[in-house]
Amino acid sequence: MDDFLAARLQMAFSLGFHIVFACIGMVMPFFMTVAHFIWLKTGKAVYLDVTKAWSKGVAIFFATGAVSGTVLSFELGLLWPKFMEHAGPIFGMPFSLEGTAFFIEAIALGFYLYGWKRIHPWFHWATGVVVGVSGLISGILVVAANSWMNSPSGFDYVNGAYLNIDPIKAMFNEAWFSQALHMCVAAFVSTGFAVAGVHALMILRKRNVLFHSKAFKIAAVFATVAACLQPLSGDISAKDVARRQPAKLAAMEAHFHTEKNAALIIGGIPDTAAKEVKYALKIPGLLSFMAHGDFNTEVTGLDKIPVADQPPVAVTHYAFQVMVGLGMAMLGLALLYFIALWKKKQWLRGRWLLKLFVIATPLGFIALEAGWTVTEVGRQPWIINGIMRTADAVTPMPGIRYSFYLFTAVYISLSLIVTFLLYRQIAMVGRLYDSEVKPQND
């Protein structure tokens, strides 16, 4: 394997791994504090049980997210030294603030996990909220750094030199808001559906039904509300990308020819040589409308982009289709759930709705990884959009492929162990957490 490709894959794997743990670590504290709040208000033991069970999940995911994040802060330099040499001082502001947010999160988590019976009950609850909020702020800041790579600003690029650096301007680049919003909502969607799906499965298997029903409801409400908001944030993102990164939009849509009244292409197999998309569903004018708010606006196609500056079309297009398709599926499920909550209570007692949630367990995370692929692969061949090419940023050290094999092995085994731990946590709910059935001497 070519070292450049190995470096890209290692970075992609590391981020793809970290993103899952980071999202769960930043969203689950919100579920946990809601359950905790209901317990403090009502005193119903089942909510305390759910809170404690979820806090174990938070601890596992936070720790894994924290180490994989530490690794990333080194990998940026280990794999992309030329990039960091120039970009570090410009886009470092969100990272230095993120250090604080992350630190606060770790401190608050220490209070939360070990604070039972040690600190005032409401202060204890508040530390849980701090875990969630500072996690969310960390996430926003990291995405702001990434969005700078898509929308570099806060410096003047003169003859290869980076002058007049303004870190604040770089942090509030044009893409930060749309990207951070889309990412945060995605974190709620994916974590929400994953958690709800697991509890739904347990209800279907008739294990600790009261416990899992309460847990399911909290997660499902978060997931479905977020799933309804996500298309709106997606629309903001699409218009933003169309304006700033026409090459990325063209690759997402496999939009080869610049035209007015451009068609939205759904599915299909892009053929880069023939510059066409086979077997696709085409809705005339809709792309123009979605990108620029008007059916007749011209949408830049790949033909306007020099070949050397075009992102890989097939990967970006497929990933985009997967993200949107799954997003729509989850939106549909969310609407069904709302109908069930307000109009058709009997649906909630049926098995089919729960079965749909079980099927939806991994969908959010698949969509999340697909969306991440769109934004990263769609930015290629640039590491700093329009300024520095990814190939020029890679480390001179040969043999990166071995490092790639090593880290891949590590991430795969970590994923297996975490899955195994979660399986055990869930299997042990009856003995450890559910106060209706657990042995009283615990």
Binding site: A63, P81, G99, I104, A106, R118, P167, P398, M428
Partner: protein, 339 residues
């Protein structure tokens, strides 16, 4: 403002060595505890370390962020030429951080516990070992920017007797910090005696490894002796550390945990001071005799200013919260009954 940033960098490194070091040391002590005593030792150690252990490792992130934002040339040079020991250290960090949590949060306590434990204790050893190697390699003039072949560019940049012995020295410092820290956490005489023995042994390990560092430096012609003792302040730092070690030797049995911790912290601070002071503002010494200076390679003024403000504002949030966390969990009795 650059001095504010450098002060934060140095403090973050110091706190990582002290707090993270004591944390690594807990694993090292566990490794060097005979099996019958292990579970007792572990229980004592993690009652104290549990709540703060994630926070201890944040100092490394703070230090690395300061480096890549404020001093990118230094960060990237080290990243490129010390790639291999950095990867080894990262693997240690991953293995250790996850094994610790997995051990605590596995719902079933079965044979998997043994696996988590052995991953945890060996990675507790490996991580500070490579940390020491990285620190030693950056100041010992082994990094060769002109090297053309793989071995001299990426392997002999860090593989030397000097670096290896500094790695060992770091490991023994961690064990020493942990043993001193844990003495204060014990709640019975037998445990206290056990950890006092550990602490005394680790003092010998530190001295032995320290002697190795000087021998290795002498044989590889690295003027460590001159760096540390050639300057009155360095001399002062090391001699006050030695005096405090003597004081400690005679107070170790006297049940004064706070005094012991202060003395140990003071000694390690003095060692880090002596090791960095003579080089300041240089942080990386290269083979061709050039050096990478924190002052000459700082980022543009606006970057440094905003970094300094971010750190100042951050510390307003972090420090009180951290002290309160440590304070709450140092109290032995629970305050609130669950209702």
């Amino acid at each position: 403002m650059v001095y504010v940033v450098i002060a934060f960098l140095w403090t973050a490194i110091l706190l990582y060595v002290l707090l993270g070091g004591a944390d690594f040391g807990a694993g090292i002590i566990e490794l060097f505890t005979s099996r019958p005593n292990r579970s007792r030792a572990r229980k004592t150690m993690y009652q104290a370390i549990g709540p703060v252990w994630e926070a201890n490792h944040m100092w490394l992130i703070i230090a690395i962020v300061i480096l890549f934002v404020g001093f990118p040339k230094i960060y990237t040079t080290v990243s490129v030429y010390l790639h291999i020991p950095l990867v080894c250290m990262l693997l240690g960090i991953i293995a250790r951080g996850t094994a610790f949590v997995f051990r605590n949060y596995d719902a079933v306590k079965d044979n998997m516990q043994k696996l988590y434990t052995s991953i945890f204790i060996y990675s507790s050893l490996i991580t500070p070992f490579f940390l020491g190697i990285i620190a030693a390699s950056s100041v010992s003039g082994q990094i060769d920017l002109q090297a053309t072949d793989f071995l001299s560019a990426y392997v002999f940049s860090w593989l030397s007797w000097f670096s290896l012995s500094v790695g060992l020295f770091t490991v023994s410092i961690c064990g020493y910090l942990a043993a001193i820290f844990i003495i204060g956490q014990t709640d019975n005489a037998a445990d206290r005696a056990l950890f006092i023995r550990k602490a005394k042994r680790s003092v010998f390990a530190v001295m032995f490894a320290g002697a190795l560092v000087f021998i290795a430096a002498y044989s590889e012609q690295i003027p460590v002796w001159k760096w540390i003792f050639g300057h009155p302040l360095g001399l002062l730092a090391i001699s006050s550390a030695s005096i405090s070690l003597l004081v400690m030797w005679f107070t170790i049995d006297k049940d004064k945990p706070a005094v012991l911790r202060l003395l140990a912290g003071f000694q390690v601070t003095m060692i880090l001071f002596a090791a960095t002071y003579t080089h300041f503002p240089n942080i990386v010494l290269l083979k061709n005799g050039e050096e990478l200076s924190l002052l000459a390679h700082q980022g543009q003024a606006k970057t440094i200013d905003s970094l300094a403000y971010a750190l100042l504002i951050g510390s307003i949030f972090i420090l009180p919260a951290l002290f309160y966390l440590i304070y709450v969990f140092q109290k032995k009795k629970p305050d609130f009954n669950e209702h």
